[in-house]
Amino acid sequence: MKKFTTMGLLAALSFPATAVAAGRPNDMSKLDRAVSRPQQNSAPDNDQTLRALHDEMQRSRARLSIPGVEKPFFIEYRLVDLDVRAITASFGALLSSSPTRVRYMNVDVRVGEYHLDSSNFVSEDGFQGFLGPSGQVGIDRDYNSLRQDLWLATDQAFKSALTQKSLKDAFLGSLTKPPEIDDFSQTVPVVAVDPRLEPDWTSRKWEDEARTASAVLRNFPQIYGTRVNYYLIYVTSYLVTSEGTTMRTSRSLAAIEAALDTQADDGMSLHNFLSLYVEKPADLPDPSIVSKSIAQAGTELMQLRAAPLVPDYTGPVLFDPPASGAILSQMLPPSLSGARPPLSMLPAFDQIMERMGGRSEWSGRIGTRVLPPGVTVVDDPKATEFQGQPLLGSYAVDDEGVTAQRVELVQNGVLKNLLMSRRPGPDFLNSNGHARSALLSDTKPLNSNLSFQSSDALGTADLRKKFRDACREDGHEWCIEIKRMDNPALSSINQQDFSDYIGALAGGIASGEHAPLLVYRVYMADGREELVRGGRIDGLTLRSLRNMLGVGNDASVYSYMQNAGGGFAGTALGAFGSAQGGIPSTVIAPSLLLADVEIRGFHGEPRRVPLVPAPPLR
């Protein structure tokens, strides 16, 4: 809507609530009091945002109408207030450092009714407004400018909804049997106004820390390029709906993400990455500790350079944490959503979703066995830690203002539940508080803290014995153990590398292609582990998880940022995000022993190594 500045291109994060006071469904007096609370509340921190949201909401609800045309039945205001520092260093030198303070709003207006409304419809045509229902708004947290912006955005959203609704009605009229599932579910309004977090950058010199942490890679002259990124992020989110929901929540995230790359002597491109996520900037480790981890990543990359190529292989594969968490983060989420896909006038839309692994394999299969007996899968946004490890996916209220719920998705291998937003699906109608989004994009039912555990879990020794037994039965001299999966969003040095990588990977997503990073051959004769390079997992689909050889009892937390950009959220590519715009999530997973996994060795044409040798790093 507003001019987007040349700086501050850093995408926003959307963080859900930390603390909440839920309004009771029938307690209208409490609701009324709560709705008027923002006005009293605006004084202490001089934040006029909720007052402006509330007043423009009241005006729109009461008076926004065109004679002879249906009035809105639902209006939603969302706003994010971002204070972000992004710092990038390379080999000890600063590449960029940009503080960004920015606010964005999004207005959703629906016409129709809960059963059939203007949403859930993709069409080519639509309303072409002069400003649109979303955009950048003032950072002063003042009253007048925000009301002006909301006024125009609400007007545009209403006109857009009217156009969408008439297009949708026309499209439904052309179908022999229109879908019977409701468009939107009812919910209990929530009122929760949290204190606004004031950014605490602490007294640390972040630019110097990034320099120091990255300088250790000067000891690795064979590394071609590197980026060490520090992200310090504060987000305050606001949500006001015409149903009475009023929320202000504040959260922070601090991250270090490092990428390093090189080429093997035969020309194969190789890379490695490091990621570290904590809640507050002050919790980030000292640069001397960070540089040790970065040096470790550098050492691994040098080992990869020297490693032999992996040959084609089919047989048992042992995934250790964090590789097990990472592979589950790629395989499970597309099938966890119970929301129905939007109606589309464009057949290409469905094809694209399918190609990116965005089609649910579990929809319509409630009550059937989808995973090995004994396995329980739970998504719990309310959990804050697992065995002392913090869980970053936590929230109290989701991005649609629905109270978060712990959801038992799979019990003893049988599918029991799906993740729901307020968009109903064929199996379930009501939200269970899992609507999540980034940068005010459309909310989708997404996992938060996803736990995969088995009642038949094996101890490490037993699991490894099972691994060896399976390997011998298959007649292999060695078998494959995967210790880390790749994440192109983190291991690519620049956007072009990421796009190329994703492009190469996306074609194989639907057929179960996955990219491991640290792959070992484990020799049966002496138990020796040997790092190999260049392998791809092929044909590993969700169905292959129904029968596993074993599940370990060594569950640990894998933290990652779900990628909500490019329609990736809820697809297999959604696992590849970064702190720059990603949705904080965790997977709690133990070691997984799978039978009959196909590993394809490298069959491409490696690029030649540079004709000019690298200049010295010192």
Binding site: K2, G92, A93, R101, Q128, L131, G138, S145, L146, L617
Partner: protein, 584 residues
Amino acid sequence: MKRKLRSQNILIAIGALAAGCACLAADGPGRSTIPATVPAAAPAVLTAMQDELDRSMAALSKGDPPVYFISYTVADREESEVSGSNGALLTSGDNRGRWLEVQTRVGSYQLDDTHKLGDRRPSWTSPGTNVALDNDIPILRREIWRETDRQYRAASEALIKVKTSQQVQVQTAEGNAPDFSREAPHASISAPVEIHVDRKPWEECVRKYTAAFSKSPAVLNSIVTFTALGSNQYHVNTEGTKLAFGQVHYRLELYVQSKAPDGMDINRYANFDWLTPKDAPDDKTVLDRIQTMIQETEALDKAPLVDPYAGPALLTGRAAAVFFHEVFGHRAEGFRQKDINEGQTFTSKIGEQILPDFISIKDDPTEAQFRGQMLLGNYAFDDEGAPAQNVSLVESGVLKTFLMSRSPLTDIPHSNGHGRRQPGFVPVARQGNLIVSSTRSVTNDQLRAKLIELIKAQGRPFGLLIDDIAGGFTFTGRGQPQAFQVLPLVVYKVFPDGRPDQLVRGVDIVGTPLVSLTKIVATGDTPDIFNGYCGAESGSVPVSAVAPAILISEMEVQKKETSTDKPPILPPPAHDPESKGNQP
């Protein structure tokens, strides 16, 4: 330490050599004189660039395919920006970045990897990478090495495609022009520029200015942006050019949006540009301009739509300046003559009369001022390292040449210092300071009298006075630049019987605007200057256009299509009589 000493010695040697080259170049035909200055120590970034350039050329010129030309450009930009809307700040911050662009050309000057294939659109964006802000020579060199390798690979692959298509495709006439021009080396190393901006006072100004706009209910949205840009550019190439030069520029932009009752979008835009902090516009100047913009907006909201019309039109100086920039200037850009997708209006017209014989046009980026006012399109070297030149494009109505980058035409083998780009784009020929002059000028009052004479002579009910034109270089912040769309924004009907002028809106020029230029019958005597950013293929570059008012004997206009998006349903919150109680 040892390394450092040695590279400094080399630098001094190169400096001396380069200075010699510059003198030689100045003696060459058609070259302007740019004295080389060689400071005691070259910036670290230039040292790193030269070190890698020498190393890369030594190795890659023996590669397969061999490189024949390498250039490195680093754009080091420091920017402070404060923007606001409707009385509040949108952003306020500083940003600094160093952007490296590497050219590794394989093949030959005649035919290289950049050769255009068939009617395929070339990629306008240029690959590049961020490099260290710290003056850490080994790390700067590492990024340069990496990017050189990337570009060399890409160029090698591209050359194979070029050679294959050469064998199978028919070549057009201009397709036989060389792909790249050989240029004399230039050396000039100036001290880097810096900006020191206190954003706080500007934050207050931006709030105050946008709040002033909000006083009018007609203003739906306002954006005010203050920008300070300190830009240092470094360039080395294997022909021996070695440059470091900088520019500082301050700018204040005002933009408002409104909607007429029938839904037509109404926009007004104004900008102030200055080079030193003391020349910043004062509050009164800006607030007066804001009042004018509000008045224009409110008047345009109420103005009637124009009826289809053909007849005489008078363009004021600033409207004429934009008109010449859009309609003539872009068509005089050399690269368009090579592109078969272009209209190529002028391609074969050199030496022919294309404008009335009293009109001459030059593009002179070497001028920093015109009659005491700054020219935004001023620069010393273009983005390919060629020195800026004053280019006489039209003399007494006759087309003489084109604006040239290093992409030559068959008959124009060299750059004339107009290869320009925004960092991140490939340089192409662009305008700098387009200056229109006339030998048939009368006072502006006399020009108006002539307009009325023409209206009467042609028996028209009225004539048009065009006071402002939107082109590709008005507001750079929003959307896709419409490089050639010329849309009159502020147009008055002028009546022959002495009635007051009447503001109209929705004016769309019919047919080729270029035809209008041939129908200029007279000009005013006071040139106006338009400073702005021009958005086109190679991104957004600062330009100026200077022209006197022009009288056109016939211009045809029709009604512009209006938007279907009607004005907002509810009144603005701050001007809503039913909810005054909400105001703080």
